[in-house]
């Protein structure tokens, strides 16, 4: 379940269906050799402030955390679990009302045990992001996991 060649198109269909990404309804959009783009569809029960119909920041963190983890899988070429060590999110501007948010994360550096990721979330125009993120992940050894 944890190991094998990582095919983002195929595996994202499975990995985004279950658990927290499944609950959020995250969708696969595209990927390259070291990046993955996912989408968080608009949903009324994910609002962060009743006065404005805008997606809360919590689901956007989940979107970026998931895209970041997947960018490490495509960069590594294998499907191996990773754990987030540190994640920073800067909210540049609010998303538009009732807008879905897309998140693209790039794994720009890997060492034997760590992976460094940065990314942007946008609501239509990638050049006008709603948030930027940077994070550090640790690759886990499946043999040591229970």
């Amino acid at each position: 379940m944890f190991q094998g060649t990582f095919d983002a198109d195929v595996l994202s269909r499975w990995v985004l269906k279950r658990a927290h990404p499944g609950w959020l309804g995250l969708r696969y959009r595209d990927h390259g050799s070291d990046w993955v783009e996912l989408e968080l569809p608009w949903r009324a029960d994910l609002i962060g402030d009743e006065r404005r119909p805008v997606l809360a920041s919590g689901p956007i963190i989940s979107l970026m955390d998931m895209a970041a983890g997947m960018s490490i899988w495509v960069a590594n070429g294998i499907f191996r679990p990773v754990a987030t060590l540190d994640l920073r999110v800067d909210y540049i501007r609010p998303a538009r009302e009732r807008a879905s948010v897309a998140g693209r994360a790039t794994c720009y550096r890997r060492t034997r045990s760590a992976a460094f990721v940065r990314g942007e979330a946008h609501d239509g125009d990638p050049k006008d992001p709603v948030a930027t993120v940077s994070g550090v992940f640790m690759t886990l050894d499946p043999a040591r996991m229970r």
């Binding site: 927290h20 689901p59 609010p94």
Partner: protein, 137 residues
């Protein structure tokens, strides 16, 4: 607006289990499959959502105490993941480090069995916009 939780927080099942006068609002969240990341562990994004909500709850309760009701806009959050979140109930509490007129800085910790052994912590900055001012701007 009261110190109630956001639709997002309620959809995930977060609840306030204790409201302190000093902004020490304690949040609890039972584990469920919808919070899982890799099998047998909390998703990092769900933990971040709990931390962020605890920060907002602490700030909101202090603002209510002061008779203020501004719009809260996140500026940033930095989350440190300290250990794996096991599939069980988790708690989070925010502490206001600095509360000014336009900006608040908070520290938040999340834990499971022992408050002295946090599974994650966060630092966050929140912009506060008074409704009248937001109409003018």
């Amino acid at each position: 607006m009261s110190a109630g939780l956001t639709p997002y927080a309620e959809a995930l099942g977060m609840r306030i289990v204790e409201g302190g006068e000093d902004g020490a609002t304690l949040l609890a969240l039972d584990f469920g499959h919808e919070l899982e990341g890799r099998p047998g562990a909390w998703h990092g994004g769900a933990i971040a959502g709990l931390l962020e909500t605890a920060g907002y709850a602490a700030l909101r309760s202090e603002l209510v105490r002061q008779g203020r009701d501004p719009l809260l806009k996140p500026i940033n959050i930095t989350v440190q993941y300290l250990s794996t979140g096991r599939p069980r109930e988790s708690f989070a509490r925010g502490r206001i480090v600095r509360l000014g007129r336009r900006n608040a800085n908070l520290e938040v910790e999340a834990w499971q069995d022992d408050p002295a052994k946090p599974i994650a912590s966060a630092v966050m900055n929140i912009l506060m916009v008074e409704e009248e001012a937001s109409k003018v701007l």
